[in-house]
Symmetry: C2
């Protein structure tokens, strides 16, 4: 309470001139509380504004403003010209309830009882995180920050928003910025070898939104979709959001197997797969299986979502053509994302629809989802169309290839007998599996916690499985890790694992 505290004893109003906020609002709050706490009883007559002002040592206008507010809110009523009363018809339950107490010494209300769904999340084991400064080794899904031209990006944003059109600020197409959709179509033609119309492209706020949108268009609630096991958890939660049951299909050395999928859940109508570079294992789906999956979709009137989330990073060998390029009957939707290429909090991804589904997708998006925000869509369109994206990818591809080599070499040298981390022709992380001697007892959650205690962030492979048996292993992201920090972090990781 400040130096200027004043008090009207009968009502318990205390004015704190140092408290900030308008004085009349402060008086109004306290009058309201006096009514709710029954210090001013229903039907009681309020002291005159003149008297209140004198006692509170403030202007009468201030008191009148507070009283007007409470009249507007229904706490007070005026009957005669100047007489004000507490409303007689306030519900009794509120009036006899214990008073509101605030301030640091007020007891916190007991924690509420939460439903099963929230209790489950609170009770689930959470991967350990490193305390203090954020570790640069080895987060997954993080690109190199220094490589991205933020100053240029900022200028593009400024240019985008200086004089934006009505179609950008207000009545945007739910599928996104026309320029960005055009730039994506051109980019896919050049970089992925398939042609599509800008009209088929939906800009989304993430891969999750793309999967959920597509599932809502082609499936009914209760229908079944195949997902990869292990896989990206967002795919499963996106399907669940759409009311669709996800049937996990184990990934083997040739990627997703249509035969295994049909054996596990023959009734499935949708396959969500990452054929180019599976997450998290990095396997490439064989041509035979690609053709078999396409053939299933044609035969069974099924649908395919092709998640090509990091097809941009490939360091040796050649990428296979996307399924979408082989799709003859319009059964394949293609998903890509810019968040891992530019920076994660960008949250701009896209979905290329089969042309026959555009209308249904537009109605579904409008009825059930929030379109992606427009901020940055115009800047990204320029960034792609001007060739900046291609240049950025060239720079980072070179950088990440070096970092992967360093990580492979450091792991061979320092983790021998503990972990095996073979090179991967693509991606932004390596999968390190326990050495056969360790494998039976290896617990990747315990290893993650031990690494965190040594300032190294790794991600447990078992957490990306839906069902048992869960393979244990550690994912080591290297894209955001400066070269000279790789070996020291691997040495710390060895110490952490040796202590298990």
């Amino acid at each position: 309470m400040g130096r200027h505290a004043r008090k009207v004893p009968p009502l318990g109003i205390v004015i704190d001139a140092d408290a900030g906020g308008a004085l009349h609002a402060q008086i109004g709050r306290q009058l309201r509380r006096a009514i709710l706490e029954r210090r001013l009883t229903p039907g009681a007559r309020l002291p005159s504004s003149r008297l209140l002002a004198a006692e509170l040592n403030c202007a009468r206008g201030t008191v009148l403003a507070a009283i007007d507010q409470l009249i507007a809110e229904g706490y007070l009523v005026t009957r005669a010209a100047s007489a004000t009363f507490v409303a007689a018809d306030l519900p009794d339950e509120m009036l006899v309830a214990p008073p509101v107490r605030r301030g640091p010494d007020a007891p916190r209300p007991p924690d509420p009882v939460l439903p099963r769904r929230a209790r489950g999340l609170l009770a689930a084991p959470r991967p350990a995180t490193t305390a203090g400064a954020p570790p640069t080794a080895f987060p997954i899904g993080e690109p190199d920050r220094a490589a991205f031209p933020f100053a240029h990006w900022a200028r593009l944003l400024e240019r985008e928003w200086r004089r934006p059109g009505w179609d950008v600020t207000t009545a945007a197409h739910p599928f996104g910025h026309p320029g960005l959709r055009q730039a994506i179509a051109a980019y896919l033609g050049a970089a992925r070898g398939f042609s599509c119309e800008p009209a088929d492209i939906v800009v989304t706020s993430g891969v999750r939104q793309g999967v959920s949108l597509f599932a809502r268009v082609v499936l009914d609630p209760g229908d079944v979709a195949w997902i990869e096991e292990p896989g990206y958890p967002g795919v499963r939660s996106a399907l669940t959001d759409a009311g669709v049951d996800a049937a996990p299909v184990p990934i083997d050395a040739a990627g997703f197997s249509p035969d295994a999928a049909l054996a596990a859940a023959p009734e499935a109508r949708l396959a969500v797969v990452a054929p180019s570079h599976q997450f998290p294992l990095g396997t490439v789906m064989s041509l035979q299986r690609r053709l078999a999956l396409l053939s299933w979709a044609e035969r069974a009137q099924g649908w395919i979502v092709e998640d090509d989330f990091d097809g941009e990073y490939r360091y040796f060998g050649r990428p296979l053509a996307p399924l979408r390029a082989l799709d003859r009957t319009g059964r394949v939707a293609y998903l890509g994302s810019f968040s891992k290429l530019l920076f994660p909090t960008l949250r701009l991804s896209f979905l290329v629809l089969p042309a026959s589904l555009v209308e249904a997708a537009e109605l579904t998006l409008t009825a059930h989802m929030t379109p992606a925000p427009m901020l940055g869509q115009g800047a990204l369109a320029r960034f792609i169309a001007d060739g900046e994206l291609a240049a950025h990818l060239r720079r980072t591809r070179h950088l990440y290839a070096i970092r992967q080599q360093r990580l492979v070499a450091a792991a061979e040298q320092h983790l021998a007998g503990l972990l095996l981390a073979p090179p991967d022709p693509g991606g932004m992380h390596l999968v390190a599996r326990p050495h056969p001697d360790l494998a039976p007892g290896f617990d990747d959650l315990a290893a993650t916690a031990a690494a965190a205690a040594h300032g190294v962030r790794v991600s447990p492979l078992s957490a990306l499985h839906v069902r048992a048996p869960k393979t244990h292993g550690l994912l080591l992201g290297y894209a955001a890790t400066p070269e000279d920090e790789i070996e020291p972090a691997v040495i710390r990781l060895r110490r952490a694992l040796a202590g298990l």
Copy 2:
């Protein structure tokens, strides 16, 4: 096909030098197609690269690059030093299927059979829209574009992204930008009279995400929530997303009625209400009902979401204190949005949680949703903290009050006997109801179509109901309509209605 078209007859490869894209990619695509269409049969030997290059009149390296690609993809295999064969193990189904045909004269595949959910959306009646140039009279939910300082906003964006921190580009808190959460907390204290901690605030990509997040935290699938009837459709779809059943409760002159709600669905555990200014009717929930609703939440361990989506626009009278300001036991979440205040495609809203739910909400958001993108969050924080938002609201409040007066006056003058559009103390639109003589036969969907044909966009009230009986009426947004366009548009609307 361009001037430079060349052909290798045996394989049907046609090179179009004007087609764009790398030449080797073009050759690769056509070789792949020849295999899939069985013009090159499994096991067949490919002509030598030298011969192919000669026939196609291109460099041998170009042909080799195309062949390498198809070897990598598994379509071709090499057996001897230089002999290349079509792979023998390609699935037969793909090879005998009809060939891919492209180009303008290719037959479009038949439209796929869609599931019930999508068919329902395609079959539902859609409100008519005006063709051609976007109408400035009378869209709802659109603020005035000219009033917003876009150039200043663009500079704030540039400043935000010139040298962004790691916590902004990469490992952002799922609840959003710390500066924005702080600015919102300060703004709510000053403008809404309740205090909250930045830690309790979640930046969301829309009111829908806020409702869905809260419902997932406090309810289980199959639980029931009360919604307002008529009301904002996004609330219902957000609850459905969370697996929650929405029970519509009719709004009367005193707003949402807890008694009516308990009679309709006594088992409900959550109420989603807009007590300050109901959408779309503009009613204010009475103090008695507010206190009764709070009392229900305390007694029944229920929850309240208070949607205060346009509490900023109030032209006469005084706003009531939000429910959140009266919440003694942490049962009220408060929702606000910036999209209607700044521009709709911003898509930044916020949810103020009860402190006891912060941890469960963070886990739920991370597991099931995509956090709001960071673009613009820092700029918005500066916009609020520098007092620009308050100044923008002062300007637009003045502007919208004048526009509402103009619309009321024009409606009184030109729509007498047709529609009644009484003034509203707040908001950005008026509700025009049919004159009693017209009411029984008035169809607001037909009226909307007729208005659209006259270049006036109105919104049908009946579309905002979940159940019959649906009240018919027209919503006329005035915030984005320049003053001198109001009367002419009302005159066009009269003509449209007279022709019904």
